[in-house]
């Protein structure tokens, strides 16, 4: 039976090729489709982790502590060294956030002053801030401040003007004058109206010498949400190295809202793949059916010559399985190769300019899960084999003479 099926396939070379190509294409495009969905999820993942890091270290129970002084991590340098040792490959830096009053000669506003020296390795693109005037504060600088554009507007100041920052009830000097070095734009207008940035050293001198409010750990080379294992492993190592008194959280725990947004993509992607699979099924059905319906005549002849209906159906099944397995294998190989080639990142040609203007990374990172690949394979195979059965069953149902005269 196997040899007969194989010979039949080679007799009808073009038909076989077309069918196999259809199955291969369905598998290939399914995999590509899923990988684009994965790219979308990964872009959310990147947004989240570039903003807040993959891991954060705080004081235990920091969410319930109200006073800034209770939430401080001290001594910052020693702690940072410990963290860096426990997390090789991560970019580590400390952040100190101080609620303060920022004032100009005419106005004053409450603001959340953020002291950090964001390492250049991370770039500014992911922090959610876009520079709109002037420049950023260099690390260690004690004189300059960067304001949210809306805050600067409300204070009637611009680049080069002086503002006072008043942070009462803290351990540092509590008040200082800074020169506005630059202005930034944030997506959230409320946050922009209360945003001010100092170097970490300046913030420490102002409010908390040698202390930080949290440490952020970033893994710039992690683009795929699914291969996040390194983060969990680092968390365990950190917890061991730091001991009790410190809370180590992953990006999922830090801002569950953003994780919720990522999960909110699921229904959209499920819906899309469902829509896609109906089309995929139609393609396979179309190809297999059309190429086999002409063979009803052939089946009629074979039955007239003495073959049993059962044998004909079995032969068709064998042919189909052989053909579709080959096609699926080719599609699988091509699909996985394509995803592997694109996985390090690609960008849509022609869109880079727009993305840069929006301050968003234009690079997409496709990824696909084993479950999705398996589903694509099974779907293609099942549909193709089912589509092949119809003409075979047709031939066995009607009189051989009729079958021999059958036209589509």
């Amino acid at each position: 039976m196997l040899s007969l099926a194989w010979r039949n396939l080679w007799r009808q070379r073009r038909r076989s090729l077309t069918t196999a190509a259809a199955v291969a294409l369905v598998v290939l495009i399914s995999i590509l489709f899923y990988s684009m969905g994965g790219a979308l999820t990964n872009s959310f993942y990147q947004d989240v982790t570039q903003r807040a890091g993959h891991l954060q270290v705080h004081v235990t129970g920091y969410r319930d502590l109200v006073d800034l002084r209770d939430r401080l991590l001290w001594p910052a340098d020693t702690l940072q060294a410990t963290i860096a040792r426990a997390a090789p490959g991560a970019v580590v830096f400390g952040v100190l956030q101080v609620p303060a009053l920022v004032g100009s000669p005419s106005r004053s506003r409450g603001a959340a002053v953020l002291g950090e020296d964001r390492p250049p390795a991370l770039g500014e693109g992911g922090s959610g801030r876009t520079l709109v005037a002037g420049s950023l504060v260099p690390p260690g600088d004690q004189r300059d401040i960067v304001l949210g554009a809306a805050l600067a507007n409300a204070l009637h100041v611009g680049v080069g003007d002086e503002v006072s920052v008043y942070a009462p009830g803290t351990e540092g000097i509590g008040a200082a004058l800074y020169t506005v070095r630059g202005l930034v734009h944030l997506d959230d207008p409320t946050a922009e109206a209360a945003a001010a940035y100092l170097s970490l050293a300046a913030a420490q001198e102002l409010a908390a010498p040698d202390a930080v409010g949290r440490f952020e750990l970033h893994f710039p080379s992690l683009h795929d949400m699914r291969s996040d294992g390194a983060v969990a492993a680092t968390k365990d190592r950190l917890e061991q190295a730091l001991g009790p008194g410190y809370a180590v959280e992953t990006w999922r725990q830090i801002d569950p809202t953003l994780l919720g947004l990522v999960k909110a993509m699921d229904p959209i992607l499920y819906g899309m793949s469902l829509i896609f699979y109906v089309l995929a099924g139609l393609l396979v059905l179309n190809t297999v059916y059309l190429s086999l319906i002409e063979r009803v005549r052939e089946f009629g002849l074979v039955i007239a010559l003495g073959a049993e209906g059962r044998q004909v159906v079995l032969m068709i099944l064998t042919e189909s399985v052989l053909l579709c397995l080959t096609g699926a294998a080719v599609g699988l190989a091509a699909g996985l190769a394509a995803v592997a080639a694109l996985a390090p990142g690609f960008s849509l040609p022609g869109f880079e300019g727009l993305y840069a203007a929006l301050g968003i990374s234009p690079i997409l990172y496709p990824s696909v899960s084993p479950g999705q690949v398996t589903f694509a394979l099974i779907f293609a195979l099942v549909t193709a084999v089912a589509a092949a059965l119809w003409p075979a069953l047709l031939a066995t149902r009607i009189e051989p003479v009729e079958a021999m005269r059958h036209t589509a």
Binding site: A21, A39, V66, D67, L279, L283, E294, I360, L364
Partner: protein, 408 residues
């Protein structure tokens, strides 16, 4: 000659009815899916923005142009006499005055800067969803009372029943008022719970020395925000220096992030179009193979190979075009229906309500309609014609009539 070929192509479609219908279904389905997909996505985003508007600001906000550039009580509305006229306008439900000003909130434990909103309690409930999100306590009912977002209350360490002092800069110098916390807002939405402060507008007027308001918030139905704002902006309606802004104008910062995500969907939409075009190709290929004898006859009767190739290309193009028209008719029909009726909203909320609540989406989701979607779907036709012109049609150019006549 070209006309005869076209007519032949057209008639051939109806001679092989089953194949034509199948192909029609494929292209029609792909068109329908593309139209509904973008209609859903754009509608989802628009619904999201409008919902967010009812938490963050208002469907339509009337302020001075100076206030828009510099949101300070200094730039309050000059008078409120025109509000009764506004309230009578079509599609304007309620007009709520707001007096928003920066202040220092002082609890027994700590002090924080915040943006305080003085409201008219009953009318505010009609323009904003925030007053309905008070599980602990109740909304402000008159002077002497204050409502806070849960995150803010936590940081100030106050509960319902306790007192807060609000310090503000009025036109007559610093003012302070002691207010009782009557309610805590817990919406599940981060920016709301973090920054909401509401007091009675009478108290706000006392604290700022402003007799009018910084803005008038209008209750306008979903999707009527932009048109209503535009209508109000016509000369003579509002006092000089005063303008109406829709929620889309005010939340433009959020739009850029959303726009970027939309463009990430483009690879998937393109894949889908390519897939549909390939299905067209596969049918054309099989059709050409099956009809080899028929072509042989035609060629023997005098139709040259070049015309044959064109005929096949035209067949593919006609079918795809018919499918596009059918799919567009049904697609836009459903799209239009779902843009007027909120059928999808409750469905999605029942599955993903928890997650979507966090991003301020209510259960009203309407589809968007745009002619641009047809443009996307038309790519399918172009691709189909292209593919058909390539392989099968080109094969036909090299057809040898004598051999073709003997094909099985």
């Amino acid at each position: 000659m070209a006309y005869s070929v076209a007519r032949l192509a057209w008639r051939n479609l109806w001679r092989h009815r089953n194949r034509t219908v199948l192909l029609l279904v494929v292209v029609g389905y792909a068109t329908l899916a593309i139209i509904l997909f973008w209609g859903f996505y754009d509608g989802f985003v628009a619904s999201l923005l409008s919902s967010q508007g009812r938490y963050a600001s208002a469907p339509v906000l009337i302020t001075t142009t100076a206030y828009r550039a510099d949101p300070d009580p200094q730039n309050a509305l000059p008078e409120l006499a025109f509000r009764s006229d506004i309230a009578r306008r079509p599609r304007v439900g309620a007009v709520a005055a707001r007096l928003t000003f920066p202040a220092l909130l002082r609890s027994p434990y700590t002090a924080m800067g915040a943006q305080v909103r003085g409201v008219e309690p009953q009318r505010e409930a009609m323009v904003s969803n925030v007053p309905a999100a008070i599980p602990a306590g109740r909304m402000v009912a008159g002077p002497g009372e204050i409502v806070l977002g849960s995150e803010l209350a936590r940081r100030l360490d106050v509960r319902v029943g306790e007192r807060l002092v609000v310090d503000a800069q009025s036109l007559a110098g610093p003012q302070a008022l002691g207010l009782r916390v009557v309610g805590i807002v817990r919406s599940g939405i981060a920016f709301v719970d973090r920054s909401t402060v509401m007091i009675d507008i009478a108290d706000a007027r006392k604290l700022t020395g402003v007799a009018t308001a910084t803005g008038l918030a209008l209750d306008v139905p979903f999707r009527a925000e932009r048109p209503t704002a535009a209508l109000l902006d016509t000369p003579g309606v509002l006092p000089p220096g005063v303008r109406a802004y829709s929620v889309q104008d005010m939340l433009s910062g959020l739009m850029s992030g959303i726009e970027a995500k939309r463009r990430s969907m483009i690879p998937m939409a393109l894949l889908f179009s390519i897939f549909a075009a390939v299905t067209v190709l596969s049918t054309v290929v099989v059709s050409v193979l099956e009809r080899t004898r028929e072509f042989g006859v035609a060629a023997a009767l005098g139709l040259d190979q070049g015309s044959l190739a064109w005929m096949v290309t035209l067949e593919a193009t006609f079918t795809a075009a018919l499918g596009l028209v059918a799919g567009a008719a049904v697609g836009y029909g459903i799209d239009f229906l779902l843009s007027r009726l909120n059928l999808v909203g409750p469905l999605i909320m029942s599955f993903y309500g928890n997650i979507l609540k966090d991003v301020a989406l209510g259960d009203e989701i309407y589809f968007a309609t745009s002619v641009a979607y047809l443009g996307w779907a038309s790519i399918t036709i172009v691709l189909a014609a292209l593919f058909a012109a390539l392989a099968p049609a080109r094969r036909l150019r090299r057809l040898r009539p004598a051999e073709a006549l003997r094909a099985p």
